[in-house]
């Protein structure tokens, strides 16, 4: 037994067959209709819409619909009913406003939410605000779950926190939605590397990198030269003394060789600079980079106690902490033109 189709222009929309968290979207929602002539007759999913016809809808009474609303099964609109129309879509935006408009316009508006939120999320990533970026991407994902970007950005946030299982879930979901694992990996890496290195300590980074590695994603730290390097090295070079360095939490966090750094700081201050200033920290790294280049053919390190030796050792530390990769990326084009 099948119900007779109902003309859409006989109906009005009085709610939707879902209850959204905090009554907010973005979400496309299934409409709940009411007969404009007979307000006791309501039509709820499942149904199909074909042209101006509603087909196979469930018919329930107004009192049953109110029961469903009280049970948290449907949402009744607070504002006046809207006339049903063909090719229209009902959707709720991220502020909880309900829209009923032609499908093409609804799609455009949802796409704009997606783009705006992704832009905000990437800006947050570049500012090192991972939690904020994740929240923006969550809205973007809800606006259009078929797009890969929001999924990858959320996965990057999980990766940066070392949440391997979350990343695995996001990747599995992306693949199930028809996206290639390669594209997912490239995007996750790209988003993860937007976060400046100074935004997290080394342990967090190592955890995130390990999480990514297990998923075949190579995560590298991004340094905005010279600002990040100054931030990264200045406290070490400026505030540390030989005696204090061994106990410095910064040194421990960075995984640096405390004894070496203490010696380096002492010699560096003594031989090169009367006082290390923040702006000069980057020069230390540049020097270390060129020492590496100059010594490409050498097998053994420079003689101990020489300044070059300390730069050579510093280079090892920089390689270990990923700083040198950023320096190389920054300086390589310059070198190529030399």
């Amino acid at each position: 037994m099948t119900d007779q189709p109902v003309r859409l222009d006989q109906l009005e929309i009085i709610g939707y067959a879902d209850v959204l968290p905090d009554a907010k979207g973005p979400a496309v929602v299934p409409p709940v209709f009411r007969d404009r002539q007979n307000h006791e007759l309501c039509l709820v999913p499942p149904f199909r819409v074909a042209g101006n016809w509603l087909i196979d809808a469930q018919r329930i009474s107004w009192s049953e619909l109110k029961d469903l609303a009280r049970d948290g099964r449907v949402t009744l609109l607070a504002d006046p009913a809207r006339l049903a129309a063909p090719e229209h879509q009902l959707w709720v935006d991220d502020a909880g406003r309900v829209h009923y408009e032609p499908g093409s316009e609804a799609k455009q508006h949802l796409h704009k939410i997606l783009r705006d939120r992704l832009d905000a999320a990437t800006a947050d990533l570049r500012a090192g605000k991972i939690d904020e970026a994740e929240r923006q991407a969550e809205v973007a994902l809800a606006a259009d779950p078929r797009k890969l970007e929001a999924r990858a950005l959320i996965a990057a946030c999980h990766a940066l926190r070392g949440e391997e299982r979350h990343v695995a879930f996001m990747r599995q979901a992306a693949e199930a939605a028809g996206h290639s694992p390669e594209a997912f990996g490239v995007l996750v890496q790209g988003y993860a590397e937007m976060v400046p290195a100074v935004s997290w300590d080394n342990l967090s980074f190592e955890r995130g990198a390990a999480a990514c590695e297990k998923l075949g994603i190579e995560l590298r730290r991004r340094f905005d030269l010279p600002a990040d390097l100054i931030s990264f090295l200045a406290p070490v070079l400026q505030n540390a003394s030989v005696g204090q360095h061994g106990n410095s939490s910064e040194v421990q966090c960075a995984g640096l060789d405390a004894a070496f750094l203490g010696e380096f700081v002492r010699l560096f201050r003594h031989n090169y600079l009367s006082a290390v200033k923040p702006g000069q920290a980057v020069e230390v790294v540049r020097k270390a980079y060129w020492v590496k280049k100059d010594r490409r053919s050498r097998v053994s390190p420079p003689p101990k106690q020489s300044v070059d030796y300390h730069f050579f050792r510093l280079r090892e530390v920089l390689v270990k902490t990923g700083v040198l990769w950023a320096v190389e990326r920054e300086l390589a084009p310059t070198q190529a033109t030399d």
Partner: protein, 251 residues
């Protein structure tokens, strides 16, 4: 087929997000209406079907397919749930909620509670009756789980929908299983979850899915023109096909 059909339960978006947020720290579970009230999660309405029929202590699942239309997230449990929770389970050959003001039965003077008691079956033995009903009522067995399958013959139980509803509601002939108090949303009983991509926008939902990745089939569904609920049902049909419970074509 009747012996292998899984058990299905579905809920709206907000209920799922709240469940995963677990504000009362009670774990990721489905709770009966009475238990939800006891935990302070959702009050039990005195005029609800569950109170009227005395079924408030149970979690409700359907045998074979999602059948509650106003839902967006679906859980599928294996038959193991019935075996593991056998003493806590009861079955009926229809959605018992419908007995509360939505359908009529052959003897109108018979109280709903009495009618329900006469149609309450032991678990898992009800599946023998399910097999007979599927064979008797439907043109082909898969119509029992199909989106738009309808019985070929009048149902001998004699339930009739009250106007304005008509006879096309599958809840009138889909078996309902009632499990006392609560059902864990974890393997091995939980076999699959169907959801929409937007649900993964909630951090608590991702926590839930991350904990289930690899041990539970997590299937994102994409609603088409026929809506959210049809997408859930199609997901369930795909699950049944993959499991070999129904044939790969003809549904």
């Amino acid at each position: 087929m009747a012996q292998s059909l899984p058990l299905a339960h579905a809920m709206p978006s907000a209920a799922f997000v709240t469940l995963t947020e677990d504000p009362k720290k009670v774990g990721w579970k489905l709770f009966s209406p009475a238990k939800l009230a006891e935990l302070g999660i959702k009050p039990l309405r005195p005029d609800s079907a569950e109170v009227a029929l005395g079924t408030a202590e149970f979690v409700f699942v359907y045998c074979g397919q999602f059948r509650y239309p106003e839902t967006q997230v679906g859980f599928v449990f294996g038959t193991r749930l019935e075996r593991d929770r056998n003493p806590d389970c009861l079955a009926s050959p229809f959605d018992t909620g419908a007995l509360h003001r939505k359908v009529t039965w052959p003897a109108p003077s018979e109280p709903a509670t009495s009618f329900l008691a006469r149609h309450t079956l032991p678990v898992p033995r009800y599946r023998e009756y399910l097999a007979n009903r599927i064979q008797f009522l439907f043109a082909k067995p898969t119509d029992y789980v199909a989106l738009s399958g309808q019985p070929l013959r009048p149902d001998p139980i004699g339930l009739q929908p009250k106007p304005p509803a008509t006879g096309n509601d599958p809840r009138l002939w889909t078996f309902e299983i009632r499990v006392r108090n609560e059902v864990e949303l974890s393997p091995p009983c939980l076999e699959a979850v169907f959801y929409q991509g937007r649900h993964a926008g909630a951090r608590s939902v991702r926590d839930f899915f991350a904990a289930r990745t690899g041990s539970v089939q997590l299937e994102e569904v994409f609603p088409e023109d026929d809506g959210d609920f049809a997408a859930l049902q199609r997901g369930c049909l795909d699950f049944l096909r993959k499991k070999g419970i129904i044939p790969t074509s003809g549904v």
